[in-house]
Symmetry: C2
Subunit: 205 residues, 2 copies
DNA sequence: GCAAATATACAGAACATTCGCTATGTTTAT
DNA sequence: ATAAACATAGCGAATGTTCTGTATATTTGC
């Protein structure tokens, strides 16, 4: 791995552990086995480092998940469940093809969402990217619902816009509550919530 | 207002504007019209200042809302809606009795939730308080649902535990998406989501 | 009753440390 | 030889905190 990638990956890992403000540039430099000069050759500032880290390790991953799942074979419900569980980072769902870092270490998705959140608040570029991603996810969910309506799996009278937003909201809410209350089992809660919402939309005939 | 209260209130306002890490102690001291010595007479550190601020201005308010709303007269749905809209800080719902600060200035609830979130991540004490509050809110919602079931307003077969959690999750999710995408109208989205969920639980007979 | 003793509520300077970053020097690869 | 890829030293500003000092209020001893 080249130097820049090494910096990015160690920075990513350290950000996950202590947050962006929580880790200093010197710590990153030490951990990356480089020096100040080496760092500033590859990056303009600590800020741009964060932006690059988030783009590379979070948004790229998110986009990949949505892309991969479009050709996913399975029921509508499975499709929806899988994409959401992959994005929130449920352990039992994540497989090797969608791994975030090259090394085998596991990522703590709780802190990942926190880091993303920190970035969104700090830098407009990340905020815009964040919004864009959620529009993509919204479209994806809406497509699944519309297709489900066409195929007769879902009730024809439901408003796919409203329900897509609700599902997305429930997803975000589950993650955040999981962050605030780590004792909560993420996958279990997410599945329970999705089950309820799905039953709500399901064609009863 | 005495000195300590003055420090607390100005600190609260400044934290809302720029976040905890975003505002320095010197700025707070200047804005509070005191000096370093004065500050350290009343507080042990900047950390304890944040903890006191959050307890005083956020948790106290949350607890007050739940307490006040218990004797609230209205339908089950109204009760649920009101408590949630008060907690998330919907403009149209907040009245004078539940005002956060003594001065007439309006609070930006987006940054309030952010500040709380920042505190939860930083200090265990706040995290525990946060968890405790959500248990309280959960109990409140569950009571409303159970009472609704008793009164025949809601379907008797729904699992009040599961549904309470879902509602709470949707609430948190709505707030967070609102924070990340400020263009979203909070009250409107929250009401739409609650309406869907309520219809789901409503007795159809 | 009244001074001595003590507690309270601050003021202001100084401290040690850390921060992100720059300027300049050295090595390495082609 | 020349530019890319680093290494090293250190700057300047900002940080939270501690220290000592002071004015006022309250309590205590006789």
């Amino acid at each position: 791995m080249d130097t820049k990638s090494r910096i990015l990956e160690t920075a990513f890992k350290m950000f996950l552990q202590k947050g962006f403000d929580g880790v200093s540039l010197n710590e990153i430099i030490k951990e990356s086995d480089i020096t100040t000069g080496g760092f500033y050759y590859h990056f303009d500032s600590k800020d741009t480092l964060l932006i690059e880290v988030i783009n590379r390790y979070i948004f790229n991953y998110f986009d990949l998940v949505i892309e991969q799942i479009r050709d996913f074979e399975g029921t509508h419900k499975e499709k929806l469940k899988t994409v959401i569980l992959l994005i929130v980072g449920d352990d039992s769902t994540i497989n090797t093809t969608t791994q975030l870092v090259e090394s085998a270490e596991k990522i703590d998705y709780r802190t990942l969402h926190l880091l993303l959140f920190e970035g969104v608040q700090k830098y407009d570029v990340i905020g815009e990217h964040y919004t864009e991603f959620y529009y993509n996810l919204f479209d994806f969910i809406k497509d699944v619902i519309d297709d489900g309506k066409d195929k007769g799996v879902l009730r024809p009278d439901i408003d796919s816009n409203k329900y897509s937003l609700l599902i997305q909201t429930a997803m975000v809410g589950t993650v955040i509550m999981w962050i605030g209350m780590p004792a909560m089992p993420l996958g279990e809660r997410m599945e329970s919530n999705l089950d309820i919402l799905w039953d709500l939309m399901k064609n009863k005939t």
